[in-house]
């Protein structure tokens, strides 16, 4: 039996026991899973970023009081921990990590990817952020300051990436499609707009 099979059996037995004891309800487990599968995820953070790019007043509110600004969007979010939005610019690049465990703005962006929880990312991002970013495909010029945010207490961090060039005419919905989860963690830039007249 593999480790994963053993875990599956153990988790199933534990859930039966906890249901029997009245500590857990399986339909609540179902609802929690469904919430992360359907309602909460990077698409909600992407909406906030796209609006911040399009509306300077909203950008200021998102930086000053993130959860209140998120609430304006009418998306599903769980403001269960204080949220801090850090803004990238031409001279500053921000990137988020949790060296102690896996702290992440899950109430807005959903569950973190496995690499974010990996020992390699947790160990290395604080010590050699430029090297890790370069490995992940983001090479930063030497004159760009790298600010690493280690989520060591209960504040959760989201990066407001730079708006890509050539997107002035795009709608907020189209802009949101350029904002990836990785850009909001800070290991990538926002995507580039589709090339006009190029092969599709």
């Amino acid at each position: 039996m593999t480790e994963r099979d053993a875990n599956a059996l153990r988790a199933e037995a534990l859930e039966s026991l906890l249901v029997e004891k009245g500590l857990v309800r399986s339909e609540v487990v179902d609802a929690i899973i469904r919430r992360f599968e359907q309602d909460i995820g990077p698409m909600n953070g992407a909406k906030a970023v796209a609006r911040a790019w399009s509306d300077p007043g909203y950008r200021a509110r998102l930086l000053a009081d993130p959860w209140a600004a998120i609430a304006e969007l009418g998306v599903t979010a769980i403001p269960d921990a204080p949220l801090v939005v850090v803004e990238n610019g031409p001279a500053v690049h921000n990137v988020v990590v949790c060296t102690l465990c896996s702290c992440y703005p899950s109430g807005l962006l959903g569950l973190p990817p496995s690499w974010y929880k990996s020992p390699a990312y947790r160990a290395r991002m604080v010590r050699e952020p430029r090297a890790v970013l370069a490995e992940m495909g983001l090479v930063l010029p030497a004159d760009v300051e790298v600010r690493v945010w280690d989520s060591s207490a209960e504040m959760r961090y989201m990066v407001l990436p730079e708006r890509p060039a050539g997107t002035d005419a795009m709608s907020q919905d189209d802009l949101a499609a350029l904002v990836t989860r990785d850009a909001m963690i800070g290991v990538a830039r926002a995507g580039r707009p589709p090339e006009v007249g190029g092969d599709s």
């Binding site: 480790e3 994963r4 875990n7 599956a8 153990r10 988790a11 199933e12 037995a13 534990l14 859930e15 026991l17 906890l18 004891k21 009245g22 500590l23 857990v24 309800r25 609540v28 487990v29 179902d30 929690i32 899973i33 992360f36 599968e37 269960d80 921990a81 204080p82 060296t99 102690l100 465990c101 896996s102 959903g110 569950l111 990817p113 496995s114 690499w115 929880k117 990996s118 020992p119 390699a120 990312y121 160990a123 290395r124 604080v126 010590r127 430029r130 992940m136 030497a142 004159d143 760009v144 790298v146 600010r147 690493v148 945010w149 280690d150 989520s151 060591s152 207490a153 209960e154 504040m155």
Partner: protein, 213 residues
């Protein structure tokens, strides 16, 4: 594990699913309920993960750690007898069954902010030293900043203190400070240039630079 060597490249999986097996999602849902309804608390859960034997910690994967830590906090809360789950797995009558619970030990989760009347000890611009302490229990003071000097860049509201809360010793809310440490201070001459690490540190972890310890 901040700063440790030897883990190699960051393993990025293309088109990764939200869960790699259904049991992972069941464990997540159980932990959210047990912690969220007050049968245990998030700090006790994190401490249970940290107490895993190091080879186990690294070997069983993320949700493998969650599953084992969930069992630990249930046993410590008196909600599960040691061996009860094994008996269940062996389809054998359990020798001991934990008595049915009456009410959660903690209140339901109400967030981490706890306003306090005392003023913050530090202010933006203060130079601070992260204490060189090695408590045997839970702490949110990463090893790689202990004994290092930084600058307060933000004063956060007071929050529940995990170092006591994890052990059932009360919430003892205190201010949390955003502290910036230069890469040079943290890593010495091997540091990458032009970078800094920002941590959120509880007041009890900090002393003024040059001040009394």
């Amino acid at each position: 594990m901040g700063g440790m060597h030897g883990f190699g490249r960051v393993p990025v999986e293309a088109n990764e699913p939200l869960f790699h097996a259904p049991w992972e999602s069941r464990v997540l849902g159980m932990v959210f309920q047990v912690v969220g309804t007050g049968w245990s608390n998030i700090d006790a859960f994190r401490h249970a993960i940290e107490r895993l034997e190091p080879a186990t910690y690294l070997g069983v994967g993320y949700y493998g750690r969650w599953l084992r830590a969930l069992e630990t906090i249930l046993v410590e809360a008196g909600l599960l007898e040691p061996g009860e789950l094994e008996a269940c797995l062996a389809a054998a009558p359990a020798r001991a069954r934990a008595a049915p619970p009456t009410a959660p030990r903690h209140g339901a989760f109400t967030g981490v902010l706890r306003p306090i009347e005392a003023p913050p000890r530090f202010t933006v611009g203060d130079r601070v030293l992260a204490r060189n302490i090695h408590p045997p229990g839970h702490t949110r003071l990463p090893r790689y900043v202990r004994g290092k000097r930084g600058v307060v860049h933000r004063v956060h509201p007071a929050c529940v203190f995990p170092d006591t809360h994890a052990h059932g010793l009360g919430e003892h809310p205190q201010y949390v400070y955003g502290v910036r440490f230069s890469a040079l201070e943290l890593w010495g001459p091997d540091a990458e240039s032009g970078s800094a690490v920002h941590l959120d540190l509880f007041e009890a972890y900090l002393t003024p630079v040059g001040g009394e310890p």
